[in-house]
């Protein structure tokens, strides 16, 4: 087990390095960073001053090496725009994004698992069709559009919920639904398929023959096995949410990492972009690792090395 974890961590570090090279190169290729920082109404003199000030006139390789050396000292640099330490800015925004992601995945699971199970129990029934409809709708509606629809209905028409901002928990309800509804369909269909599969398997038939209660069969033996792939998918979806939150956070004006990323991208504030991309990719790697470990814990067969 430990060997697996160590190997995964080494891979994670290599992936992070590759990601850092890519973001660094991309942000230099896409746009002249001095120009981006200088803004729309900058004169040539302004651009030149910024170029020298931030060392953009040095070769890209030198700039990258410099960046890497600082990174190894856990120095994520200072934002070009605010002059504040990147780590501080990211840390400030992290709670809002974490809260949104956790709420959204919880919302998605709370919807997906019961619906998936119910649909599997009565294939082709009304519930099953309803679940299928939800799945198709959820996956085909872009989440920023879903967000706007929710805003119009619950914010403008009914005035039940605040439209934008992140001051109170109530501010997170609409974004949670918008972001969570995108993850729901895949999770639900996987639950349904897994459940159908499990329910027709030999050991469930045996359990039924032994006279175990329906509840015990479903939840103790059925769901536990059906959920294995769902766990892996949840991890992946959770990672997606961090990406999706870039759009959702700007639609709902939530002061989180996604919003910060969007803001930094539109102004080429590279130290911040690099830190966020690096962080998200590390997070992704950690999530997949976690999913594997969880699976191993849920399914003893996966614990034995092959």
């Amino acid at each position: 087990m430990w060997a697996v974890i160590v190997r995964r961590l080494v891979v994670a570090a290599l992936v992070a390095l590759a990601v850092s090279v890519m973001t660094f190169c991309l942000s230099h290729v896409a746009i002249d960073p001095a120009l981006a920082l200088a803004g729309d109404s900058a004169t040539d003199l302004d651009i030149e001053t910024i170029r020298e000030r931030h060392g953009f006139d040095r070769p890209v390789v030198v700039q990258y090496a410099d960046y890497l050396v600082r990174l190894l000292q856990l120095d994520f640099g200072t934002s070009y725009l605010t002059n504040r330490p990147v780590l501080e800015m990211v840390a400030e925004r992290l709670p809002a994004t974490a809260l949104l992601a956790v709420l959204s995945i919880a919302f998605a699971l709370a919807l997906a698992i019961p619906l998936g199970v119910a649909a599997a129990l009565r294939p082709n029934s009304i519930i099953d069709r309803f679940a299928l409809f939800l799945a198709v709708a959820g996956q085909s509606i872009p989440n920023f559009w879903a967000g706007l629809l929710l805003i119009l209905l619950f914010g403008v028409q009914l005035r039940w919920l605040p439209i934008s901002g992140s001051d109170t928990l109530a501010h997170f309800v609409l974004p949670m639904i918008a972001l969570g509804s995108y993850a729901t369909p895949a999770l639900m269909r996987l639950t349904r398929a897994g459940m159908l599969d499990v329910l027709s398997s030999d050991y469930i038939r045996t359990a039924r023959a032994m006279g175990l209660s329906q509840g015990s069969i479903l939840f103790r033996w059925g769901l536990r096995n059906a959920l294995l792939p769902v766990i892996s998918l949840t991890a992946v979806q959770f990672g997606f949410m961090l990406g999706g939150s870039i759009i959702i956070e700007s639609v709902f004006a939530i002061q989180g990492i996604g919003y910060l990323a969007w803001q930094s991208m539109s102004r080429a504030d590279m130290p911040v972009i690099q830190a966020i991309v690096l962080m998200i990719s590390m997070f992704y790697i950690a999530l997949t690792l976690l999913a594997d470990l969880l699976n191993a814990w849920t399914d003893p067969r996966l614990r034995t090395p092959t």
Partner: protein, 509 residues
Amino acid sequence: MKRVLATAAISALTLGVLTLGGDAVKAGPDDNSLTIGLGEEFPNLNGYLNTARDGVVMTRHLFDTLIWRNPETFEYEPLLATSWRQIDERSWEFDLRDGVTFHDGSEFSAEDVTFTLNRYADPEAGARSQASVGWIERVEAVDARTVRIVSKEPFPAALEFIAGSLPIYPSDAYQAAGPDAFGQSPIGTGPYALTAVEGGTYTLTRNPAYFADGGKGTPSIEVLRVRTIPDSATRIAELIGGGIDWTWNMPSDQIEQLSDIPGVTAVLGSTMRIAMVALDAAGRTSEGNPLTDVRVRQAINHAIDRETIVTNLVGGDGRTINAPCYPRQFGCDESAAVVYDYDPEKAKALLAEAGFSEGFTVEMASYRDRARAEAVQAYLAVIGITANLEMLQARASFSAWREGQIGMWYGDWGSFSIADASASMGNFFNGGTNDGARDEEIMALIAEANVSVDPETRKQSYAEAITLASERAYWVPMHTIVMGYAYKSDLDFTPHVDELPRFFSASWK
């Protein structure tokens, strides 16, 4: 199944509880507050480091400049200085107002002026707009209530910058805090003081000690709440739902729909911003490309029906322009420009004469408005020019033009709200990266006009530059840009052409 139901019930309950947690939005006129929805977050409130428009707007509320330009009359009026005079061709002297205090209670003095301006005139201080401060050689106190600003060379636009982009900071408080911390919690003499920053909302409270007899007057609204909401659809929803009272940067096609909503006023206000199709006459994209031929550039000028674009796609009180500057800017003499009427047949003839009767293909970039850019593309197609249009982010689009990657650029320029042709022509025909013409003759005229102290000489030089630039058709001067504002109908608010909303002059009816 029970557990399933339990989960569902808990979810429903949570939703219900959370709903109760939503704070009722405080309405504007009731507590005399104004909630402003901006689209762009400003990195800090230091007016020298922050050039984002939304941030500039806020600094005007927190800080004062020595003098102020009346947005209606374009005349200079007293602010922190009560009177001023030119001493010689490089020096201006200002008498400072008595009894002005900063938000922290400290008294405003000549030292604050000399400190602030000398500090940011130093390139090391990192002012984002070097054009605003780079001309200053030194600032000195003549006595406790008089300061003198000396420019490096004669600088006719000095008062424009002093009135516009040079806020005065408290020297002691600034030095104690340092530039970054000061930008986070600024202290000024302005009509409003920053009193809280929470969850992305800035709260500005009326400065009770504000002097009434300056150009800005006494503010009527007690509290300004400033929120950043990047998505314009969300901003509209917030305005309708009552979450904000005022917003801008609304797309012009939505202004009409917005004005149908009861209680909402939506207007298109004209601005100092001008739009142009700049042409690669210098051959930066490739030497000898079709655009280096003056007949081709003239053909393009004849091919585009600017009037129709303005009527149908700009709207409001947008208008066509003929010179490469904003008509109300000093030195922007439109009568000096050669005007090209809409005449596609003439355009085709000119193209044929230049040897391009079969037309050609050119790369074109734009950013602000796809419909307008596509209209230009369609007009060009009529005379046989295929323009490959690329809609980009503003900065990427600027970058493409400046780096000479595109032949045509449908861009715009706001002149930093400076009402002097040096801020428009001076930036596009000076041989810099913005200059797609690189015309030595025009460059010489601009250089002369930029430093000449005699207003008549300046006017003359700019007029000659305008004639040459239009004769040689370096641009298709297009139109002024309009800004879409939307706000509660019971708010008394006046948009101004310099795109600087003044909430200290706004009030609830």
